[in-house]
């Protein structure tokens, strides 16, 4: 659903759109293509209000029940939410969590078609309330945050290289009991930029560092929301829809933000790269030709550099690199990539030695893990196999390679490089044997800036399948 006939907009309508957002954007359009008036029907406004309340209510229910502690959905962690425990005395059970997740997802799905008509202030207020609720609550679902702290403390307080040593080597450190059992023998898989920015938090003590990483995740999430909004506007798409679709997504709020993952930092830097590239005037983007060549060159170089920075936060961002280079076909991008790569790898080498620059071995190691939520495992079960075998890893890598090559060819022949990047990201998550909820948010911000709207539909569909697969505890006794 690419924007067409933009030039034919009535002047008054276009002017009104500029006034509201500061950037030219299409007016709100109904499902039948008719322009929607400024007045909203009372029933529609009521529906929007109730659905927003449902999002807040379900998030609050999860957070306040979790704050009581003693839930199987909470990782073993320091008790930091004692001040919330008087809100309720009910512990977060599987049934409540998945019931709320289902309610949240249903409200999100119902609000998506109405998102363009949610008043901007209400939308921003809604996201602020959801995010504050997550921020004040305990760490849900994942021990990864404690691994971040362990790696930071290893580097800062114990003089160990987190790319060589594993948390087991600091077994007397107060963070050690909270690190997930799966990761105590595993050196960090995160990029050197993330490791370096995590180091200052090691000085805050365990509880201080938990709050520090919570703030990092929140800032990353807010930044990604803003960048998704700007990228959608730069593409002539509806910013409000993009903001809602990313910011209130169930996997973003309930899974990723409530467990405070560093994926948000990765996504924020990735979206900076995409936004800079979209704002560089290149004919393929429908920009202003070569009217501002110097600024365009600068933006291209910075876009390439930002993509490398994202890769040095979490290596997955590297998947976008060939699409940006092939899609842009501009020297500035290549120069930016090369310069940032040289600088980044030098800094990583100086800080962590040769292990700090060896991203490939960490990726190879992680690609051999298997999770029960991965689509590969589901397909294996469907085929009557008990799980994933080594040959399956090879087959899946082959499938991913074929998809990647096809997308590169399409990009070279004129297909939108942002869409191709998003498909590649989606293909990585679907073919991965180690799939976690926060990996499924990777393609979402890209899909909201993509010209090919099938990508958004596919991303949301895959997320829905993931949520459905999570629901088995609803059908079994507690």
């Amino acid at each position: 659903m690419e924007m067409e006939g933009k030039g034919a907009l009535p002047k008054a309508v276009a002017a009104s759109a500029v006034q509201q957002t500061g950037v030219a954007q299409p007016p709100a359009v109904g499902l039948g293509g008719e322009a929607v008036g400024r007045r909203r029907l009372p029933a529609e406004a009521l529906a929007i209000g109730l659905l927003c309340l449902a999002l807040v209510f379900t998030t609050g229910w999860i957070v306040f029940d979790a704050a009581v502690g003693g839930s199987p959905l909470l990782p073993y962690s320091p008790y930091i939410t004692g001040w919330l425990r008087h809100v309720t005395d009910q512990r977060l059970s599987y049934r409540i969590f998945f019931g709320c997740l289902l309610g949240f997802t249903a409200a999100y799905a119902a609000l998506l078609p109405l998102a363009k008509r949610i008043p901007l202030r209400l939308l921003v207020g809604l996201l602020a309330v959801l995010y504050i609720l997550c921020l004040i609550g305990p760490v849900l679902l994942s021990t990864d945050l404690f691994s971040y702290i362990a790696y930071a403390r290893m580097g800062v307080l114990h003089g160990l290289n987190p790319y060589v040593s594993a948390p087991i080597e600091i077994s007397r450190d107060p963070i050690y009991p909270y690190v997930g059992s799966d990761w105590i023998y595993t050196p960090t898989a995160y990029g050197p930029i993330f490791t370096l920015i995590s180091y200052p938090l090691a000085y805050l003590g365990v509880v201080g560092a938990i709050w520090g990483f919570k703030v990092y995740a929140l800032l990353g999430c807010v930044a990604t929301c803003w960048l998704v909004w700007r990228a959608a506007l730069a593409r002539g798409l509806d910013g409000r829809f993009a903001l809602f679709a990313f910011g209130a997504n169930p996997l973003v709020v309930i899974y990723s933000l409530a467990s405070f993952h560093n994926d948000f930092l990765m996504l924020a830097v990735m979206m900076v790269a995409i936004l800079l590239a979209l704002r560089a005037p290149v004919s393929a983007e429908g920009g202003g030709g070569q009217t501002e060549p110097r600024r365009g060159l600068r933006n291209e170089a910075w876009a390439g550099a930002a993509l490398i920075a994202g890769t040095l936060v979490k290596a997955t961002v590297a998947a976008l690199l060939p699409f940006m280079i092939l899609g842009r076909r501009r020297l500035g991008t290549v120069v930016g990539v090369a310069a940032a790569l040289a600088l980044g790898l030098l800094a990583a080498y100086l800080a962590f030695g040769v292990h700090g620059v060896d991203i490939v071995s960490a990726l190879n190691r992680d690609s051999m893990y298997v999770s029960t939520d991965s689509f590969a495992t589901e397909v294996a079960h469907l085929l009557g196999k008990p799980g994933i075998y080594p040959i399956d890893h090879t087959i899946l890598k082959g499938v991913l390679l074929v998809i990647g090559l096809y997308l590169l060819w399409r990009t070279w022949r004129g297909y939108d490089w942002v869409s191709a990047s998003g498909w590649a990201m989606l293909a990585i998550t679907v073919t991965s044997t180690w799939l976690l909820a926060w990996y499924l948010i990777w393609p979402l911000p890209i899909s909201l800036a993509a010209k090919d709207r099938r990508l958004l539909a596919a991303t949301l569909f895959i997320q829905l399948l993931f949520v459905v697969h999570q629901l088995s505890p609803l059908f079994t006794p507690e």
Partner: protein, 182 residues
């Protein structure tokens, strides 16, 4: 720098015929490719949906079976379970489960767990126990899993005895030694 960028762009544009990069997809080939891609996406979506629903049903059935194991363990031992450890038959992928748990709320490390082997279908929310043993939980590290290994088991009965699962002939001093099931 700008002139170099222009030369780079021009060199790329001069590539021959089908190798040449395009700024926009030609409408006719775009429609054809989109139809092909749409068909592939629909097939993939159907395949993944079937796999997801199949796995959901499988997990629900598995959850019901494991719940029945725990209820049966409590039914037989007359105690509430703590620190349960359920091992499934990952060698032959049968419905045989071994449930080990503490009868009191203690740290699993260093304690004695009661293990029962369950087989067969779930009937009235319970499963049939066909054997069992005591298990000494070795280790002191909170991350260390309780190892359900040959050398830590004693007091085998039923199928466990027939299969020779116990490596300890006598219980360690102070450990319970009365038969699990009379």
């Amino acid at each position: 720098m700008s002139a170099l960028a222009d030369r780079f762009a021009a060199a790329v544009e001069r590539l021959p015929g089908p190798l040449a990069p395009l700024d926009e997809e030609p409408p006719r080939s775009r429609r054809r490719i989109r139809r092909f891609e749409a068909a592939l996406l629909v097939v993939a979506a159907i395949g993944l949906s079937v796999a997801t629903l199949h796995d959901l049903v499988r997990e629900v059935n598995l959850g019901l079976r494991l719940h029945a194991d725990l209820v049966s363990w409590e039914h037989i031992t007359g105690a509430r379970y703590h620190n349960p450890l359920i091992e499934q038959d990952v060698k032959h992928y049968t419905a045989k489960d071994t449930v080990c748990a503490n009868t009191e709320d203690v740290k699993p490390q260093g304690s004695i767990l009661v293990c029962l082997i369950f087989v067969g279908p779930v009937r009235h929310g319970l499963r049939k126990a066909v054997g069992g043993y005591y298990l000494i939980a070795a280790g002191t590290d909170v991350h260390e899993p309780v190892l359900n290994d040959y050398e830590f088991r004693y007091g085998c009965f039923g199928r466990a005895q027939r299969e020779g699962l116990c490596g300890l002939s006598t219980p360690p001093p102070g450990a319970p030694d009365r038969p699990l099931v009379g």
